[in-house]
């Protein structure tokens, strides 16, 4: 009798866990897509900064404007609690994002600051891109240093 009660309780626990586990695939797609948009546009600016693609003031400005636009996306819906790499597969987002959320938001704000800096200088000439790229790289690293796990 005792065994049966235990078995039922265990089964109930398993079902409860399954019910709690949520599907975060939409959130993951959205935030990973956001980073792809960032990488594409940083890539245009970086290519010009390194002289790998010809400098084009208009294209540089559009890329910088896009980065600023991305920086205005509300991070809330993209980063629901429980969508960290210890809880689910398919992400490198570390639990520290939620454990130290203020730090995460500060660093996301750091990207916005760097993007705004790029927006100001992107159309002013090829030589202005290098230092602004350095700031962008610093902003990316600052967050990835603490909040993203290796592949």
């Amino acid at each position: 009798m005792k065994k049966q009660v235990f078995a039922i309780a265990a089964a109930a626990a398993v079902i409860a866990t399954a019910a709690v586990a949520q599907d975060y695939s939409a959130n993951l797609k959205a935030r990973q897509g956001q980073f792809r948009i960032m990488a594409l546009n940083v890539g245009i600016l970086g290519g010009m900064a390194q002289g790998k693609i010809a400098y084009d003031a208009e294209a540089a400005q559009r890329a910088a404007d896009t980065l600023v636009a991305v920086s205005h996306i509300d991070p809330g819906p993209l980063w629901p609690e429980g969508s960290d790499n210890m809880s689910i597969d398919g992400t490198r987002a570390m639990p520290s994002i939620w454990d130290d959320h203020d730090d995460f938001l500060t660093k996301w704000g750091g990207f916005g600051t760097a993007a705004a800096g790029m927006q100001q200088v992107a159309a002013t000439g090829q030589e202005a891109l290098g230092p602004a790229m350095g700031k962008l790289g610093g902003a990316c690293k600052a967050c990835h240093d603490t909040h993203r796990a290796p592949e």
């Binding site: 970086g46 490198r92 350095g134 790289g137 610093g138 690293k141 240093d145 796990a149």
Partner: protein, 301 residues
């Protein structure tokens, strides 16, 4: 009965020999005494060797705004491993809680022999297996730079290492197996490749994470920089060998400067701290590391 006595004598001799060969081997007290250190050059050594990446307080992120301030090496970062959790000690110039009371010979002994001023073996979480290749002049310069850093009176935390790894003497055996001062990439090298080799193998200790380890925690040099499991968590540290890494030298140098990969992903984890340091070095040094990486052989199967 007589045989038994001989057996005991042999056992005592073996124990004595074991004690002798696992002893700490400090450098002579007058080591480096003839060298004058220069702090400005020492800062380059400091950045390339990544001292602050592990010994700065856990919250002090490099590469962030305001990181121009000199780092406070108060320690406290934790490094989980198969052997226990190591906690970086306070190595700021504080005379009591840091290493401000050391001589330059004691500093060099720590770096090149992995031995404390009290004659204890350090655990190889401290990468003296790389620093053993450091030039004496670089150590003198680094020590001069050290004197310009701020002191911290935060006490060092003990390592969380269980038996049998808590026996420090055992590290003496480990050193016999793994502490080597010759180059992993042997043979002739032009000046750029030589500089790259020095940066990669001696100062930046890239192999500590990028090279897989054997069961005792020694680096598997047959698979030098061929990638390894992340020593402190999930994921893997990528391979730098030509069978896996397809970036050209310019892309490697740009990555070390800005943290951007060729497809504009960005460095993360501990590598972000490395890039934070390497971005402050000269472009010649970054190019030298790139030249070294491009010269790596394919790893053994």
């Amino acid at each position: 009965m007589r045989a038994f006595r001989w057996l005991i004598l042999a056992a005592v001799l073996a124990a004595a020999a074991g004690w002798w060969i696992t002893r700490a081997r400090p450098l002579p007290a007058d080591a480096l005494a003839s060298l004058a250190g220069e702090a400005a050059r020492g800062e380059t050594v400091f950045l390339a060797a990544g001292c602050a990446s592990c010994h700065a307080a856990p919250k002090a992120t490099e590469g962030a705004e305001g990181a121009e301030d000199k780092p406070i090496l108060s320690g406290g970062q934790q490094f989980a491993s198969d052997f226990g959790t190591f906690v970086a000690p306070n190595i700021s110039p504080d005379p009591v809680h840091g290493i401000g009371g050391w001589t330059v010979a004691q500093f060099a002994t720590a770096l090149k022999r992995g031995v404390s001023p009290e004659g204890r073996h350090y655990y190889p979480a401290f990468p003296y297996t790389a620093y053993v290749r450091m030039r004496d002049q670089d150590i003198a310069d680094l020590w001069a730079f050290w004197q310009t850093l701020p002191a911290s009176d935060a006490p060092s935390q003990p390592h969380e290492v269980g038996f049998p790894f808590s026996i420090r003497r055992a590290v003496g055996v480990w050193k016999l197996l793994y502490l080597r001062d010759d180059w992993v990439m042997g043979g002739d090298a032009d000046p750029q490749l030589e500089r790259g080799r020095y940066l990669v193998e001696a100062l930046a200790h890239c192999g500590e994470c990028h090279t897989p380890r054997g069961p005792l925690g020694g680096l598997d040099t047959a698979r030098w920089l061929a990638g390894a499991p992340n020593p402190s968590g999930k994921g893997t540290i990528p391979s730098l060998t030509p069978d896996r890494l397809t970036w050209d030298a310019g892309e490697i140098a740009y990555y070390l400067e800005t943290g951007f990969t060729p497809d504009y992903d960005s460095a993360g984890g501990h590598m972000a701290a490395v890039v934070g340091n390497f971005g402050k070095l000269t472009s010649a040094d970054r190019a030298a590391v790139a030249a070294y990486v491009k010269a790596l052989p394919r790893p053994a199967e």
